[in-house]
């Protein structure tokens, strides 16, 4: 997760400095941009995204952005993301140390409940199933543009084409299971993976996904 500070020019210079010192720092990593502390408008956000794109930093989601500054063509808005430690800035300079402190969010309390939710129909595009209390099982497919958000694990007896977010209230042990993986986005405990970052050989397969440290692991079920 990146949390830019104003003025943006200075912050970008520091980012360049950091990237220069550790080659490939942002390469191939999905980054969430945290703009909650940033007082900018849509145009400025657009410029910032362009600057980051020039540096090959791939932003897969924007967190803490007011709806008014979000625009078409921007990465989707997200909530409840966790700063991944491997993207944190080393505490080389005092300014960066302060930035690191700001990134640490209060740990969410895990909710333990033996609850589960069964959805007996396909989840259609635009529908959102939110069940923070426990597992969600879908008997059918999850369409492109639909999402399942579960406090526990997500089980899909069909094709997962939309988004599945497991462990949404802070449960690193949650998993995602699906009979056929065509997902747009997968998340476990706030760690995200977009379709572009998934191994192509998993597409169309029965797959389970879990969290190992700060990366999502996947394996075929058959």
């Amino acid at each position: 997760m990146l949390s830019p500070e104003l003025p943006l020019d200075d912050w970008l210079a520091r980012l360049d400095d950091l990237a220069g010192r550790s080659a490939g720092f942002f390469l191939e990593r999905p980054i969430v941009l945290d703009v909650a502390e940033l007082d900018i408008d849509r145009t400025q956000l657009k410029e910032l995204l362009a600057e980051l794109a020039n540096r090959n930093v791939r932003i897969m989601g924007i967190e803490g952005g007011r709806p008014s500054i979000m625009g078409p063509g921007m990465p989707p808005a997200m909530r409840g993301g966790r700063p991944a430690p491997d993207v944190e800035v080393p505490a080389a300079e005092p300014a960066q140390a302060a930035e690191k402190a700001a990134e640490v969010l209060p740990e969410a309390q895990p909710i333990r409940a033996p609850a589960s939710m069964i959805v007996r129909e396909p989840v259609r595009s635009g529908q959102s199933i939110i069940f923070p209390e426990g597992d969600v099982t879908v008997i059918g497919s999850v369409a492109s543009g639909a999402e399942i958000i579960a406090g526990g694990s997500v089980h899909i007896y069909g094709t997962l084409r939309g988004r599945a977010l497991a462990g949404s209230v802070g449960n690193a042990g949650a998993r995602i299971f699906c009979r056929r993986l065509e997902a747009e986005l997968l998340a476990i405990d706030g760690v995200y993976k977009t379709a572009e970052d998934m191994a192509p050989d998993l597409r169309g397969q029965a797959v389970q996904l879990w969290l190992d440290g700060d990366s999502i692991k996947a394996e075929r079920l058959n």
Binding site: E121, P122, R124, S125, G126, Q127, G140, S141, A143, S144, G145, A146, T159, R161
Partner: protein, 271 residues
Amino acid sequence: MAKVVVVTSGKGGVGKTTSSAALGAALAQRGEKTVVVDFDVGLRNLDLVMGAERRVVYDIVNVIQGDAKLPQALIRDKRLDTLFLLPASQTRDKDSLTAEGVEQVMNDLKRHFDWIICDSPAGIERGATLAMRHADVAVVVTNPEVSSVRDSDRIIGLLDSKTEKAELGERMEKHLLLTRYDAVRAERGDMLKVDDVLEILSIPLLGIVPESMDVLKASNIGAPVTLADSRSAPALAYLDAARRLAGETVPMTIPGEKRGLLGKIFGRRAA
């Protein structure tokens, strides 16, 4: 007992109006009294496709606002005396449709007709939700391409949540009408195949209408496809679809492919 059918799709330009006119005419050709209602206030086209544009005096908005009585607004087709049109207004917008007004009109129509075909506007806003609100059956018109399929999926979700039937806890009957289908391009991979669309949408198939010049020709002469040339491939597809809608079992054929084999493959999926 009248049956209310909404013809909907989410996406524009997939063939809702063409299909409404063709299915309406096909049902009327069976001798059942049918009215096709245009809900696309502000962008009405059904009158053109049915060749009644020069006969529109009053429209659905006039009826809702009490400026005209329902029989004054209904236009009887010149070719088929069982087919009627209730046109939309071209000068108003969709906000002139009120929930109470639409309900009143639908209740009146139900007393006089066997079939009420509601031609929904594109989108998921007021016009579209009012068109589907009182339906017993939905015909989801889809082209074999990804954006149309996704929008149809969205509409199916709304049919299961925003309609009167859904609010009463009943299940809305939904059928897929695949239009502008081209078997050669689907085989080449330029288009989704029938199976792919069915797998994604998982609702029963009502019919497959081939991409054809006959459709354009028919709308240019202002005749529903099934009336313009009832022997053309799209007309046959619509006539079969109407029979299935009326509850008959008709083997499914995919235009441009051999009949026997496909009857076997798709027969079981027929609505």
